[in-house]
């Protein structure tokens, strides 16, 4: 691709759309203690209920 062709194409992309830009990580968010506890609670809830659903499904298979 020539420089002028590249220049022409690049006109139609936003700067932060370029692969060179999206491959740079965004800054890490510092979670508050309350938010961390809430996320862990939700995670444990999801794992426990998933385990119940999977257990029930497997039990039904066994019968």
């Amino acid at each position: 691709m020539t420089a002028s062709e590249e220049q022409e194409l690049v006109m139609f992309l936003e700067r932060d759309q370029l692969v060179a830009d999206t491959s740079q990580p965004v800054a890490r968010l510092v979670l508050s203690r309350r938010m961390s506890v809430a996320l862990w609670t939700l995670r444990v809830f999801a794992v426990v209920v998933s385990a119940m659903v999977i257990y029930t499904f497997v039990s039904q298979l066994a019968h």
């Binding site: 691709m1 590249e6 194409l9 690049v10 006109m11 139609f12 992309l13 936003e14 700067r15 932060d16 759309q17 370029l18 692969v19 060179a20 830009d21 999206t22 491959s23 740079q24 990580p25 965004v26 800054a27 890490r28 968010l29 979670l31 996320l39 939700l42 995670r43 809830f45 999801a46 209920v49 998933s50 119940m52 659903v53 999977i54 257990y55 029930t56 499904f57 039990s59 039904q60 298979l61």
Partner: protein, 462 residues
């Protein structure tokens, strides 16, 4: 280079025009995307509104019709066959309204940040949460993909074609659509296939439903289902899982970024999402109405293919033509969902590992992305070849598992959509947050109610 915030960059960049700042060199992925953006730019500049809409439609419709997949349609039909016309018809509309709220956020975050859901969770909240999200997705996707192959198998078995062909067909389809190295090509092929989701509406019309009963069900949400409370909970959780799922979140955000949507396209992104939801709700109601033809004819105990033999049952009650259309619909629903769900797996794996994850890349450049796409489908295809697998149970439980794991993904989505550093002026409004949090609470309660009730019954505590 220090981490960048996408919204901060937007202050110095126009929505769809030229920029004076020096730019890094273009990759082939950039070049492919910029060609698509060139057409969008031209359509917008020349005031060609319909062309612009045509160019920008895609991720929303695919997410919504992709979720009108095999297990979802089987779930809707089971509901119709078990309870007839009633509460579940308007409930489908409610669940799709919930889907619009969630999917609009995905589209907006993808268009503003140009990054997928997996990548943003991993970078913004750390690798632990990123991999948890990806793990949830891969688990639910594998189970759902099995259910998609099940749907194709059920559809093909009506035409006396075996499970081996169903598995092969799915894999060939995935490989075919992945060839070409362009997002646009993949999107248009899958959109073309998704149109045939309308077969469920055709099947419903062919059953000659009692329109008075349909209207009564929509207006009054009655009759309310009776019978087993656990079956009702299963079908409620399954119906929710048939409309809003973790893969849709990953898919629409990543596909919006891959398509190259920008904040200037948000209006059309919303049209795309709403059109997708309306079509999907219409076709979903079609599957329920078609299934309701079995109500009162032993519909709650459909025989054949481990309880999921809807086409065979419909043939006995409504005739061969209805059964054929329904069977073709199941094949389409499974096939489209295999493509979109495999794509969401590829996006998630590529984003979390940090390698190329775009359809605008060649297979050599994005081998992990394409490998995950095909690998997920391959594993699911092998599992359906196991003789005697409980097909209806797999299909319904795939949706329930998606419902149970959905709140975690939704909470991260809401946090990202509220992140003003990332989203700038496109962050959620207070009203959107209240609606979204209500949806999370509702889905959590429904998923937990079924999980706990069925577990307690299984261990004989109630």
């Amino acid at each position: 280079m220090p981490p960048r915030s996408p919204a901060s960059l937007l202050d110095t960049v126009g929505s769809d025009g030229a920029v004076a700042l020096p730019r890094p060199p273009l990759t082939p992925e950039d070049a492919a995307r910029s060609q698509d953006r060139f057409r969008v730019h031209n359509a917008r500049r020349n005031g060609r509104r319909w062309t612009l809409l045509w160019l920008l439609l895609g991720p929303g419709i695919l997410a919504m019709l992709g979720e009108n997949d095999g297990p979802s349609m089987i779930s809707y039909a089971t509901t119709g066959a078990t309870y007839g016309l009633g509460f579940f018809l308007p409930f489908i509309l409610v669940t799709f309204a919930m889907a619009v709220v969630c999917q609009e956020m995905c589209m907006r975050v993808g268009a503003v940040t140009h990054r997928g859901f997996g990548q943003l969770v991993l970078e913004r909240f750390g690798p632990l949460w990123g991999w948890f999200s990806a793990g949830d997705l891969i688990l639910t996707n594998l189970v759902t993909l099995i259910a998609e192959f099940v749907a194709i198998r059920i559809g093909l078995s009506f035409f006396h074609i075996g499970a081996g062909i169903a598995a092969l067909l799915g894999i060939v389809l995935v490989v075919f659509t992945l060839s070409g190295g362009r997002y646009w090509r993949w999107e248009r092929i899958v959109l073309g296939m998704a149109v045939f989701n309308g077969l469920f509406l055709v099947a419903a019309l062919m059953t000659k439903p009692h329109w008075g009963a349909v209207g009564h069900a929509f207006i009054t949400a009655s009759p309310f289902p009776g019978g087993s409370f656990n079956t009702l909970l299963l079908l409620v959780a399954s119906t929710i899982g048939a409309t809003v799922t973790p893969w849709m979140i990953f898919f629409q955000q990543s596909a919006s970024a891959d398509k190259g949507l920008t904040p200037g396209d948000l209006k059309h992104g919303r049209y795309d999402t709403v059109v997708g939801a309306v079509l999907a709700a219409l076709f979903g109601c079609g599957a329920l109405i078609a299934g309701a033809a079995l109500f009162g004819h032993g519909g709650s105990s459909i025989q054949g293919l481990a309880g999921a033999g809807f086409p065979g049952a419909l043939k006995l009650v409504s005739g061969n033509a209805v059964a054929t259309v329904f069977a073709l619909g199941l094949i389409e629903a499974g096939a489209v969902a295999i493509l979109t769900i495999s794509a969401s797996t590829g996006y998630a794996v590529g984003e979390c590992i940090g390698v190329a994850h775009s359809f605008n890349n060649s297979t050599r450049k994005a081998s992990v992305f394409y490998g995950a796409n095909i690998g997920a489908a391959l594993i699911a295809a092998v599992i359906i070849l196991i003789p005697g697998a409980p097909l209806l149970s797999i299909a319904l439980n795939a949706n329930v598992l998606a419902t149970v794991l959905l709140p975690v993904a939704l909470v991260f989505l809401i946090m990202l959509a509220n992140d003003r550093e990332l989203m700038g002026k496109w962050a959620n409004t207070a009203a959107t947050n209240w609606i979204a949090l209500t949806i999370v609470a509702f889905i959590s309660v429904c998923g937990a109610a079924y999980g706990i009730d069925s577990f307690l019954q299984t261990v004989h505590l109630i």
